[in-house]
């Protein structure tokens, strides 16, 4: 059984103990179905939830994880090349994102933070649309209803309220879909998340609180955020919770499926803590070496989510040259498409700003648009306006 500094038995380094002695009824050991070495281990409760996953599906989970890592590295490079203003890397969190997103139905709805670009890929968001906002071309990336995923929320934790509200709407509709909201360890300290959990519990709404505990809220380590396991915070709200190995795609999928099933059948919300690690910087404007130990990164590199699935595929004799080639080709193609989509993205036009303010015509806005278009027209030829500055 692998452990890390948050595992059972607590923190050897002597910091605040994040697990021992504070277990509520929901606090059980962390769910793991694949060891870091790629060995499939059985779990009495959660094996059942992934029993139907075929070898082929396992291969496609692997493919998705490789592809989103490639999206991530390509986007990071695009930022360094001046093509994107900013990018929040997800390196290391591939299993958490793919495992949970692939457990969803098309009519379920996702409310994410800004780091769930892997989830967006799994939902079928157009690759260039993922980058629109980060390139500064529009204030929103896509139509949420085409993929049933809201555009990323930048305000920490605010999306949990949106998800809970949407889930209450599902209840009113009498539908059996669910809402899932993604947030990080730091967000659990925000008022929004706590309010959302109060409402979700009170109304027993079909919402899944999916927390990716990636250990760092920018430069704030998780042990300063919570003296108990993050998952155990949920019990205070009366929300059942589970802590899973967030670098284990099958464990994440199993826990998410269990939560979805509960929500679909009137069982109310579930809180999932996926324990993972942000191996990259908070964003491309951050330098994690200033605040965290290189050894920590090394420890987590040994638990890499992709290497783990690869190991499992290898043990099962499924890691064929053909699969490797197919996955590599897919990743290359996606990277090419992403780059081309980014670079060839048309610049926004000044008057576009008036397009998405009201859904119906608005005379005040029309007049502002009219003024602004004539203001722009007053520049005439830009070269001329510049060179004859002040001459008139």
């Amino acid at each position: 059984m692998f452990t890390d500094e948050l595992g059972q038995g607590g923190n050897a380094a002597g910091g605040p103990d994040n697990s021992a002695g504070h277990h509520s009824g929901t606090g059980e050991s962390r769910v793991q179905l694949i060891t870091p070495g790629g060995e499939r281990v059985s779990h009495p409760q959660y094996d059942a939830w992934v029993r139907d996953v075929t070898d082929e599906q396992l291969g496609s989970l692997y493919e998705d994880m490789v592809v989103i890592r490639r999206i991530d590295t390509e986007a990071t490079a695009l930022q360094r090349q001046g093509e994107l203003g900013l990018w929040p890397p997800l390196l290391g969190q591939e299993a958490s994102q793919v495992g949970s997103a692939r457990a969803l139905r098309d009519d379920d709805f996702v409310f994410s933070s800004y780091r769930e670009n892997g989830v967006a890929y799994c939902r079928g968001v157009d690759l260039a649309d993922i980058l629109t906002v980060w390139r500064g071309n529009a204030s929103s990336g896509w139509d949420p209803y085409t993929v049933n995923m809201a555009t990323p929320q930048i305000i920490i934790g605010a999306q949990t309220l949106h998800a809970t509200g949407y889930a209450m709407g599902i209840q009113n509709d009498g539908a059996d879909s669910v809402a899932i909201t993604y947030f990080g360890d730091g967000a659990t300290s925000e008022g929004d998340v706590n309010e959302a959990m109060v409402f979700a519990a009170s109304f027993q709404s079909p919402v899944i609180f999916f927390c990716q505990n990636n250990h760092w809220a920018i430069s704030e380590p998780v042990r300063l955020q919570s003296h108990i396991r993050i998952a155990d915070r949920a019990s205070g709200f009366g929300i059942p919770s589970v802590q899973v190995d967030g670098n284990d795609v099958l464990a994440v999928m199993a826990a998410t499926r269990e939560a979805i099933e509960r929500a679909r059948h009137g069982g109310g919300p579930t809180f999932i803590e996926a324990v993972t690690y942000r191996m990259g910087p908070h964003t491309t404007a951050d330098d994690p070496t200033r605040y965290r130990d290189a050894n920590e990164l090394e420890d987590w590199a040994a638990k890499d989510p992709i290497a783990r699935v690869k190991g499992l595929l290898e043990r099962k004799g499924l890691l064929t040259e053909q699969l490797e080639a197919q996955v590599a080709a897919k990743a290359d193609a996606v990277a090419r498409e992403l780059r081309a989509g980014c670079i060839n993205m048309p610049d926004p036009q000044p008057l576009d700003i008036f397009k998405h303010v009201y859904s119906t015509p608005n005379s005040w806005l029309d007049r502002q648009e009219d003024h602004y278009s004539r203001y722009l027209a007053s520049f005439g030829d830009p070269e001329g306006a510049n060179s004859e500055e002040g001459a008139r």
């Binding site: 060839n344 203001y375 007053s378 070269e383």
Partner: protein
């Protein structure tokens, strides 16, 4: 065709970055996303991936220069113009209008876009009347002029405040510069930071010197008698640490000059021995070992004054700091649990530590948690000095150069290899007795390594 890569804004709203090193040379063939340079911004040291696949034709900036965002830093010969992703980069096509697209990572376009005729700023009553073009509903405005948005009414206006930006005005104020006296070199006579700095530095500078000033390096007026260097980076941190240490810990320094000939002979024997083959043994290795042995007998030199908690922290381990002169300034990385190391382990750790420090790759963990330090001033040919304690530590030993000097040896004067040791200690934690005994022990070991048998 030739493509240029202009320095992007690598953080959020950064205006400049320093090129630390080039990973490629002119003539190299590079692949898309291959790392071509290492760049330091105010926020991070990052690697720049190549935006093109092609051949490097020019590197426009030297390592060590601070480059403004948007300046070309490298040119590529890129095959054809197939418009594929590998030749992307969002550059304006050659031959297009002068107006360049405002790329995402480059901030607002400063010069190329058209802007309405700028009105003169005036402190007096408005001297111009502007009317929005063809208002539809506003009843007050009746005139609807066409293209010229601004009409200038010729009235004698008071002197206009010279054009500049708020940070520049702040800089001028801080430096006591009257902006009316400065000639602006920016767009439309805008006064830039460089203009203000140059004004202070003594008049107009040649372009090269101005570039240097812009690079944040020392600003030297041509023939000027002063050079002004902004305090930043490692220098700033070092200064803060030194000041805090020097003015919180009462330093006492002792000196001891030792005949280290036996140690140098031992060093030669060890180097020749099979057991140390492949290990890099230096006088520092043996001095470090001697210090670690002496520390066991005087543990108070390995402690910390905890002012906040009014406690003395006695370390039961030794994290041995080694002051290292790196390209980016002084750092004191430390070897964790050095007291438990054998001589070979210590040698390996010292080699690794210095190499990491020289490469500028020392991690925060390696820099924190030191308990006692050594500084090797001997490599600079210096004999002795008053080392300043690394903050939070009780002692620091400076080892001087090993010199051949006439010295008393067996009641006669002989040419011996002699080294001076300088020990500073925090007098709050260490009394003269402990400090002296500690220094004497180290000296005894170096004068006669066999003394170790009597100490451990």
């Amino acid at each position: 065709m030739i493509k240029e890569f202009r320095l992007p804004d690598l953080g959020e709203g950064l205006t400049e970055s320093e090129i630390l090193s080039w990973k490629v040379a002119v003539g190299d063939t590079v692949a898309l996303n291959q790392v071509i340079a290492e760049v330091e911004t105010a926020k991070a040291v990052v690697e720049l991936p190549s935006p093109f696949a092609g051949v490097i034709t020019a590197l426009h900036e030297q390592p060590g220069t601070v480059v403004e965002v948007g300046k070309p830093i490298v040119s590529f010969e890129v095959e054809g113009d197939d418009g594929g992703p590998s030749t992307g980069g969002g550059q304006a096509p050659a031959g297009a209008a002068k107006r360049e697209p405002n790329l995402v990572g480059y901030g607002a376009v400063v010069e190329s876009s058209g802007r309405p005729a700028r009105r003169a700023r005036a402190f007096a009553a408005p001297v111009e009347t502007a009317a929005p073009a063809a208002p539809v509903v506003e009843p007050v405005e009746t005139r609807t002029p066409a293209a010229p948005v601004v009409e200038r009414v010729e009235t004698p206006a008071p002197a206009e405040r010279p054009r500049s930006t708020p940070p520049v005005r702040k800089l001028a104020k801080d430096l006591g510069v009257e902006l009316t006296a400065v000639t602006g070199t920016g767009t439309g006579g805008l006064i830039t930071r460089d203009d203000v700095r140059n004004f202070v530095g003594g008049g107009d500078l040649p372009a090269a010197a101005r570039a240097l000033a812009g690079a944040g390096e020392g600003t030297a007026a041509a023939g000027g008698r002063e050079t002004r260097t902004p305090i930043k980076g490692v220098r700033k941190l070092t200064a803060a640490a030194m000041v805090s240490s020097a003015f919180t810990a009462p330093h006492a320094t002792e000196f001891l000059t030792v005949d280290v000939t036996p140690t140098m002979e031992l060093l030669a024997r060890l180097k020749a021995s099979r057991a140390f083959e492949g290990f890099k043994l230096t006088p520092l290795t043996l001095v470090a070992k001697a210090l670690l042995i002496a520390l066991r007998r005087q543990p108070s030199l390995n402690s910390r004054w905890d002012e906040a908690n009014q406690e003395i922290v006695q370390f039961n381990y030794v994290n041995l700091g080694i002051a290292a002169a790196t390209p980016r300034g002084l750092t004191v990385p430390n070897i964790k649990d050095a007291d438990r190391m054998s001589l070979t382990e210590l040698s390996t750790a010292l080699t690794a530590l210095t190499e990491t420090a020289r490469a500028g790759k020392t991690s925060p963990a390696e820099l924190s948690g030191g308990t006692v330090s050594i500084t090797n001033i001997g490599v600079f040919g210096i004999d002795a000095g008053t080392p300043i304690l690394n903050p939070g530590e009780a002692a620091i030993l400076a080892m001087g150069a090993v010199r051949k000097m006439p010295w008393e040896y067996k009641d006669e004067v002989a040419l011996r290899q002699v080294m001076t040791l300088s020990l500073s200690f925090d007098h709050r934690l260490v009394d003269g007795e402990q400090g002296s005994r500690f220094l004497a022990d180290i000296g005894a070991i170096l004068a006669d390594p066999g003394m170790v048998l009597a100490m451990v």
